[in-house]
């Protein structure tokens, strides 16, 4: 009897605990709220049947304003827009799955310049040029930045409507720099010198913070370093991992490692933000979409001490800054069963002037004239970076090649493999991937 009583008590407790944790877990992953989003005109032809439009877009402070505006403004009468929370990695996986069959789970997908060539060349998303021509005046689409349109184009056609761009920006502790008579570094050597000075001062052991997590973060960092030298992963489809630019990039990144947390290859952007919030780093380079968080005093008592600058170049002879320009936009899957005209008007409304204005300062909208030097604390740095970043290349093999070389890149940066052997391994893997693509 006693055994049964205890078992019953234990199981009751289990059920209560499971319910409580279930409730909290559901709360953590509830649908994206669009209640306080900006309302804009979304004037499409109403379908006669009840229609659900499924939207795939990862959650971040820079993307959410556009997604929420679209969900709020275009949901009416027979049409419901549905957007479930998801992270970037989940979006990448679901994009591949939804675009693969004759029918898919999503009708509008968020995508970015790096991915567009691969899915556009496969015929998985539709060209938008005809719709742009038809609705250019209605949604003032001519104000979308030409360079950002180009970043989302493939083979001369536009495949995604640009909403916003991200570029690397350097955040630094203005109080620490001022106390030590330092200025924002212009090269990697300057960064190292500044880091040495800060470390000698005694409070900050690892002054430099970069997102080098062994995922897309680390390959983006490597690509940004290569871009600073004027080279990229692929040049006209040919892998460049055994080039001088690749060597410079790897040597440059390795030279920064002693001044970064020893576990930096597990740090994603939120962890780098956390280093800045905690005051355990004095300078960090991340995508601009992460910078607004640093300006909020609800996130850190150091918020007022953060200042922003364009990132350095890899050296004084480098033609470009250590940066990547990543352009996000909306695309329409070829396999959607819904009216594509209706879908285009939805995405066009989400990048309207009002929606773009409301996204500042969290985002850097594609619509020209929205971001001025006064828009945010990091607007000057973002504008300067945009002008000094190597133009984004478009190649269908970029994404698979990046996935293929990443494990070797991590081995090089963690010191398990020397640079020369790593360059040769990455070159071989990239050539095999290009050949099989």
């Amino acid at each position: 009897m006693r055994y049964r009583t205890y078992l019953r008590t234990g199981l009751t407790t289990l059920v209560i605990a499971a319910t409580l944790s279930g409730v909290t877990a559901c709360g953590a992953g509830s649908r994206t709220g669009a209640a306080d989003a900006t309302a804009v005109e979304c004037d499409y032809t109403m379908p006669e049947a009840e229609t659900t439009v499924n939207v795939l877009a990862y959650n971040s402070s820079a993307i959410d304003p556009f997604t929420n505006t679209m969900v709020k403004s275009c949901t009416r009468e027979n049409v419901t827009l549905k957007h479930d929370p998801i992270d970037f990695s989940g979006q990448v996986t679901k994009t591949t799955a939804t675009l693969s069959g004759d029918t898919g789970s999503y009708d509008i997908i968020e995508t970015y310049g790096f991915a567009v060539p691969e899915i556009a060349s496969a015929g998985s998303i539709i060209a938008l040029d005809d719709y742009v021509a038809e609705y250019e005046e209605k949604y003032k689409l001519d104000a979308l930045n030409e360079g950002m349109r180009s970043a989302l184009s493939y083979d001369g056609k536009l495949y995604a409507l640009p909403m916003q761009a991200q570029m690397y920006v350097m955040a630094y502790r203005a109080d620490v720099f001022e106390d030590l008579g330092l200025t924002p570094p212009k090269t990697f050597d300057d960064m190292i010198e500044a880091a040495k000075t800060i470390r000698e001062q005694g409070d900050i052991e690892y002054p430099i913070a970069l997102p080098m997590n062994a995922t897309a973060d680390v390959s983006t960092i490597y690509q940004a370093a290569m871009n600073s030298t004027g080279t990229d992963f692929l040049d006209a489809g040919e892998p460049q991992f055994d080039s001088e630019g690749s060597r410079q990039a790897l040597e440059g990144l390795q030279s920064l490692l002693p001044y970064m947390d020893p576990q930096v290859t597990t740090f994603d952007q939120p962890k780098v933000q956390q280093q800045m919030y905690n005051g355990t780093a004095a300078m960090a380079i991340m995508f601009s979409g992460r910078m607004n968080d640093l300006t909020l005093d609800t996130n850190s008592k150091l918020a007022a001490d953060f200042a922003f600058a364009a990132p350095p170049s890899i050296d004084s002879d480098a033609p470009y800054l250590f940066s990547r320009l990543s352009v996000d936009g909306w695309a329409i899957p070829e396999n959607t069963q819904l009216d594509k005209d209706m879908l285009f008007q939805m995405i066009a409304s989400s990048v309207s002037e009002d929606a773009s204005r409301a996204s500042v300062p969290a985002a850097y909208p594609a619509r020209e004239g929205i971001v001025t030097d006064e828009s945010s604390k990091y607007a000057v740095a973002a504008n300067e970076t945009t002008a000094g970043t190597m133009p984004a290349p478009n190649d269908p093999a970029s994404a698979p090649v990046t996935n293929a070389i990443r494990p070797v890149l991590v081995q090089v940066l963690t010191g398990q493999l020397d640079i020369e052997a790593g360059m040769q391994d990455m070159q071989r893997l990239a050539e095999e991937t290009v050949a099989g693509n």
Binding site: Y3, L7, G10, T13, A18, S21, S89, Q263, T266
Partner: protein, 290 residues
């Protein structure tokens, strides 16, 4: 029971099992011999996926790590689970509260528990345990990038997560040991140690076998906890078999579903080999009781 009643009662379960277990298993075996991408009909490639997996040193490391984790975690859980169950069994009114608080670790969603656990070792988020261990040992540990400290953290998390279930099961077993047996052993002068070793443990062999079975199955399927606990699992040799499958078959838009299926078939064989002694014992016991 009439045949018709039997069919009506068993039918829904049978339908669900065929739909959710048998069909996916058949499809997995089929795909393991094919090159498959989303939405496309597979192309037969013979044993190519199997040879690719079996000649990949990374897969070998994943198998080694998974087996190591399984053996260490199962051993710790059996010993500590038994000791805690004995302790809890001796408690009075506090017993349900202690049990209830322990079960929180078991019912928490895997990733949520793993993220919280990782923060105990992450100085960016307080890292209370990391700080305490550093103070005690005077050494700095790289919990996320050094192989063995990372393994220790993963083992600690897996034990923390699975231990409550084992304690509950073993406690139930302890309650089922006949009082007369204990009294007889006491009259015969058995010490506490001998009482446990020769009377209690043999009496609840079935329960211990069941705990082993469930723990081994759970640990062999370790996957989601590694995402926060071991962000560069592959690079430091702490990748589990399931993580290897995810990384190859799905991650970052990868579409090696054939390779993933082949590794899954190999995993099923590995699980069956690991569980064979326990399944055999359970069947024997069931047969004896029947």
């Amino acid at each position: 029971m009439r045949r018709r009643e039997f069919a009506v009662l068993i039918g829904p379960s049978l339908l669900v099992m065929v739909g959710l277990l048998v069909l996916p298993l058949v499809r997995t075996i089929q795909w393991s011999f094919q090159e498959v991408t989303y939405g496309q009909v597979g192309t037969f490639v013979g044993l190519s996926n199997y040879s690719q997996a079996l000649t990949d040193p990374r897969f070998g490391r994943a198998v080694f790590f998974t087996l190591l984790l399984t053996i260490v975690v199962t051993s710790i859980i059996l010993v500590i689970g038994y000791l805690i169950a004995v302790g809890v069994n001796g408690l009075g009114a506090l017993r349900p509260y202690i049990l209830g608080s322990m079960l929180v670790a078991y019912v928490l969603p895997g990733v949520v528990g793993a993220v919280s656990f990782s923060w105990l070792f992450d100085s960016n988020f307080g890292g209370v345990l990391n700080l305490a261990i550093e103070r005690l040992t005077g050494r700095e540990f790289l919990w996320f990038t050094d192989t063995w400290p990372n393994r220790a953290m993963i083992i600690a998390h897996t034990v923390w997560h699975l231990l409550p279930f084992s304690v509950l099961m073993i406690l139930a077993g302890l309650q089922g040991v006949p009082k007369e047996l204990r009294e007889a052993a006491t009259i015969d002068g058995a010490s506490a140690w001998k009482m446990h070793l020769y009377v209690i443990i043999p009496t609840m062999r079935g329960i211990i076998g069941f705990v082993c079975l469930i723990t081994i199955m759970d640990v062999l399927r370790t996957f989601d906890s590694l995402i926060p606990l071991s962000p560069q699992a592959d690079a430091i040799g702490n990748e589990s078999i399931m993580y290897y499958v995810f990384d190859n078959a799905f991650r970052d838009g990868s579409q090696q579903l054939g390779l993933g299926s082949a590794v899954n078939v190999l995993s099923i064989l590995l699980i069956l080999i690991c569980l064979f002694p326990f399944i055999r014992d359970l069947l024997k016991e069931a047969k004896t009781k029947a």
